[in-house]
């Protein structure tokens, strides 16, 4: 069975922990909230999946044997018909540390699938306004307004995470959604600080700004990849599940901003999640087509939330089309990777029966140190070529 099939199965059915593993890692120490615990598991082929840990019947068990971890699948008679070695992302050590100002580092950043996810302010602005997405794990938490983290603290946390080797990229979130800039102005000093101190790729997940100039600035300030997550394509369903997104921004602004950003950022670095199972499959397919036509990478989000995921058989045709659409529009598939709660177009190739060997090879190369260095160098070089400061243009024209 291809790992991505397993990823889908695990996302749908979840897994139980055997006693040894439960003891090793401790309950509630995983990536999810204590209400819906989950573990980030790395399947063969570096396929990440956020596995919901359940107590209900499921064919899957995560088991510990010595220092190793295995995924077991039991048949109807209780015998294991599948046994593969997996890796579990254990909480990094820096979660236990505090910054020099005394702030617990775990309140500033978390590690998800090799990404250091930083939320310098509150994590979700919609939940602050009482309008979180209904399926969202983050929004399900109690909304807490807190002061913005000092830049020095963020730098300290990034240094700790990189020093530990648990993350490669920095991924910024913001709770700001109703500003002209879509929240990027709030993140700008943090992004600038990270870029000044670390040679890394910076990703942001923010909200569409009101003017395209802010998208230009987002790229110019050093953001390498960007997501404005639409989540649901059907406007009616969007209004039902994502009250904040529909009320404060609206689908059209998401689509317009994504389309513009796809023209500014490198191919394959602008993506948007579409949650599987919340809207009819035809609507998700229309969303995939609309996004891919704009040069945006659609990602199939497999968040469970309140609504359980449909059976894999219902999802597979959608995922096959996810791959085919992105391929048809010639969008680079290598950039969006290692998502525990989403299936990327490149992962979805198996559902379309395609090997996509070139894209897989290129993505594989960027996992090596030299490949990652080249990717960062190319990203910097492209930015140097593309970004023009207006005042510099006047200077060069000697006006």
């Amino acid at each position: 069975m291809e790992p991505v099939h397993l990823k889908l199965e695990l996302a749908v059915h979840g897994a139980r922990l055997d006693a040894a593993l439960a003891q090793r890692i401790g309950r509630g120490r995983g990536a999810g909230s204590s209400a819906r615990p989950s573990l980030d598991v790395v399947l063969p082929g570096e396929v990440w999946v956020g596995v919901p840990i359940v107590d209900t019947p499921t064919p899957y068990v995560l088991a510990a044997e010595g220092d190793d971890t295995y995924l077991l699948r039991g048949d109807a008679t209780g015998n294991a018909d599948l046994r593969i070695e997996v890796r579990i992302a254990t909480p990094p050590r820096f979660y236990e540390r505090r910054t020099s100002r005394g702030t617990p580092m775990s309140t500033i950043a978390t590690v998800r699938a090799g990404h250091l996810v930083i939320s310098p302010g509150a994590a979700c602005g919609y939940s602050m306004n009482g309008a979180p997405c209904r399926f969202c794990l983050e929004g399900a938490r109690v909304a807490v307004e807190r002061d913005a983290a000092p830049i020095a603290d963020v730098i300290e946390v990034v240094r700790a995470a990189f020093g530990e080797g648990v993350a490669e990229h920095v991924y910024f979130n913001t709770a700001v959604f109703d500003a002209e800039d879509g929240g990027i102005a709030f993140l700008a000093p943090y992004i600038e600080g990270v870029r000044r101190h670390f040679d890394t790729l910076v990703v942001t997940q923010i909200h569409p700004p009101r003017s395209t100039a802010w998208i230009d600035r987002t790229y110019a300030m050093g953001v390498d990849a960007l997501s404005y997550n639409l989540e649901i394509y059907d406007p009616t369903v969007l209004g039902r599940h994502c009250i904040g997104r529909a009320r404060y921004i609206g689908r059209d602004r998401y689509l317009d901003a994504l389309g513009y950003a796809a023209g500014v950022f490198p191919s394959g670095t602008v993506w948007s999640d579409l949650v599987i199972g919340l809207e009819p499959a035809q609507s998700t397919l229309a969303g995939i087509e609309a996004l891919a036509a704009k040069g945006v990478v659609p990602v199939a989000s497999i968040v469970r939330g309140e609504a359980p995921l449909p059976e894999p058989a219902e999802i597979i045709p959608v995922l096959a089309e996810l791959y085919r659409s992105v391929k048809r529009y010639g969008i680079n598939m290598g950039w969006v990777r290692d998502l525990a709660l989403g299936i990327t177009p490149l992962e979805a190739r198996h559902f379309a029966g395609d090997g996509a060997r070139l894209a897989v090879t290129v993505q594989h190369l960027t996992r090596f140190r030299l490949g990652a260095l080249a990717a960062r160098g190319l990203a910097r070089f492209r930015r140097r070529l593309r970004v023009r400061n207006v005042s510099e243009s006047f200077d060069s024209a000697q006006l």
């Binding site: 800039d181 990027i184 102005a185 700008a188 000093p189 992004i191 600038e192 100039a213 230009d216 600035r217 790229y219 110019a220 300030m221 050093g222 023209g263 500014v264 492209r382 070529l385 593309r386 970004v387 023009r388 400061n389 207006v390 005042s391 243009s393 000697q398 006006l399």
Partner: protein
């Protein structure tokens, strides 16, 4: 230095993302380093190659410096003044001239004359006298569409007799924009709008060649002439040599404008009101304006009467001292208007030109270029003026003079032409860029109004350029001998 976050928080710096294919951007971005390398390669190759027959070793070094400056001046990959500084550095380090000689040439009279002219123009603009003159002319003559257009054209030309043409264009542009606005002329559609801005651009250029004050070209040419031959022109002699060409071009320019852009409005009453309001706002001339007006007139008279005896630069500097003696201008006011970079450019160009002549390089260049193609002095003048008028369409006027003048002086020596001829033969055509917005700041300013499209300048401009070239050669052939400038025989 502003950080990104500072810029985002409301400061004016904006970014644009170039979304063209990367290879196209790369080609554009590699242009500068490529040209820089080409210039350097030209310098090195000329330095190490076997000297061609007739080129002395010192001339070969000077030629190498000339080549690198030629590449950088023509392509503007470095600011013009920085290329001049490069020449100043290379001349002593390669041993073409001693350091003492090189920097002494920087103190050429022409440089100080230009500085004086800049400061006098600054005083005119700072006190408002230049605007008053412009408004007075328009108020007096501009009551019909035709007379308003003609007075704008002539007023720009007249102002450029006394100030740098670029400064005149910058000064009269807001007035022209306001006239176009109150007359509700549609951008890209109104013939009258096109005519107004073309009249502004062409008027300043034609007026700019009339005297030594219209720009730095003529003083630069005179500086190089003086360094090479010891000869020069007085203020009156230059104006006398230039005025027929100015007259012909004013007439031809006016005809081209009204034929290409027939007047399509019936009344300029609204513009009259604006001009009237501006005049009302200015009130009576202030003491400062009157004083600076008197000093300016006195300076003009001194240049005409005593220019030869005392030197044009001395008179200009004297006028500047008088202005400061009476407290009519502050040094801070001067700094706002004086383009110090241009002075650096002229200093370096004069030093390089002198080095080319002293080393025999200019003579050698002449022998392998124009001398092969032209066989009579008149043909030489026709060819040099054609080069000048074509090059200036895409290059700085001063850079054209800096490049052509040393070669022209070498040619004069070969053909036995009076070298004095070469100063106007190079400097006058080098001031006539009528077709492209990049030709001169005046054109660029007019184009930026949005009333002119490129094709509005190309067609009419090409015709005026052709007329200018023909008129220049006719003037050189038939008129200059009447004032003692004989193309065929050396000046005695």
């Amino acid at each position: 230095m502003a950080t990104t976050s500072d810029r985002l928080r409301g400061t004016p710096a904006e970014v644009v993302i170039d979304t063209r294919p990367l290879w196209r951007i790369l080609v554009g971005r590699t242009y500068r380093p490529t040209v820089l390398l080409v210039g350097l390669a030209a310098f090195l190759v000329l330095r190490v190659m076997e000297p061609p027959a007739g080129l002395p070793p010192e001339g070969q070094k000077a030629l190498a410096i000339f080549a690198i400056c030629l590449v950088y001046w023509v392509t503007s990959v470095l600011p013009l003044m920085v290329t001049s500084l490069l020449a100043m550095v290379l001349l002593p380090t390669t041993g073409v001239l001693s350091a003492k000689d090189t920097y002494a040439l920087f103190g050429n009279e022409a440089v100080f004359f230009i500085l004086g002219a800049f400061i006098l123009a600054a005083s005119l603009m700072k006190c408002g006298l230049s605007t008053r003159i412009a408004i007075t002319i328009l108020r007096r003559f501009g009551h019909t569409p035709r007379s308003l257009l003609l007075s704008l054209f002539l007023m720009n030309a007249f102002m450029a007799f006394f100030m740098s043409e670029h400064a005149v264009a910058a000064m009269t542009f807001p007035i022209t924009v306001e006239i176009a606005r109150v007359l509700r002329l549609q951008r890209g559609q109104s013939n009258y709008g096109r005519a107004l801005f073309l009249a502004m651009a062409w008027g300043t250029q034609i007026g700019g060649i009339a005297t030594l004050l219209g720009g730095g070209r003529a003083p630069l040419a005179l500086g190089m002439l003086r360094e090479t031959t010891g000869q020069t022109y007085t203020f009156g002699q230059w104006t006398l040599a230039a005025w027929p060409l100015v007259a012909v071009l004013l007439l031809a320019g006016w005809q081209v404008i009204i034929r290409f852009f027939p007047i399509d409005i019936a009344s300029v009453r609204d513009a009259d009101q604006v001009i009237e309001e501006k005049a009302l706002k200015m009130g009576r001339p202030s003491i400062n304006e009157r004083a600076i007006g008197f000093i300016m007139l006195g300076t003009l008279a001194a240049w005409i009467i005593g220019g030869e005896e005392f030197g044009l630069a001395s008179i200009a500097m004297g006028a500047v001292v008088v202005i400061f003696l009476f407290g009519l201008l502050t040094w801070r006011g001067v700094e706002e208007y004086v383009n110090w970079g241009v002075l650096l450019m002229y200093g370096g160009a004069i030093a390089l030109g002198s080095a080319l002549n002293r080393s025999g390089a200019s003579l050698w260049i002449a022998s392998v270029t124009v001398t092969r193609w032209a066989h009579s002095p008149l043909a030489v003048i026709a060819m040099i003026s054609a080069f000048g008028i074509l090059m200036t369409e895409a290059m700085s006027h001063s850079a054209v003079v800096a490049l052509l003048m040393p070669v022209a002086l070498g040619i004069a020596q070969q053909f036995g032409i009076d070298p004095r001829i070469m100063a106007p033969a190079v400097a006058l055509p080098a001031g006539l860029a009528f077709t492209l917005p990049v030709g001169t700041p005046g054109n660029a300013i007019a184009y930026s109004s949005g009333y002119l499209r490129l094709r509005d300048m190309l067609g009419p401009g090409f015709i005026l350029v052709a007329i200018a070239w023909a008129a220049f050669n006719l003037v050189a052939r038939y008129y200059w001998p009447l004032i003692g400038l004989t193309v065929g025989a050396p000046h005695s």
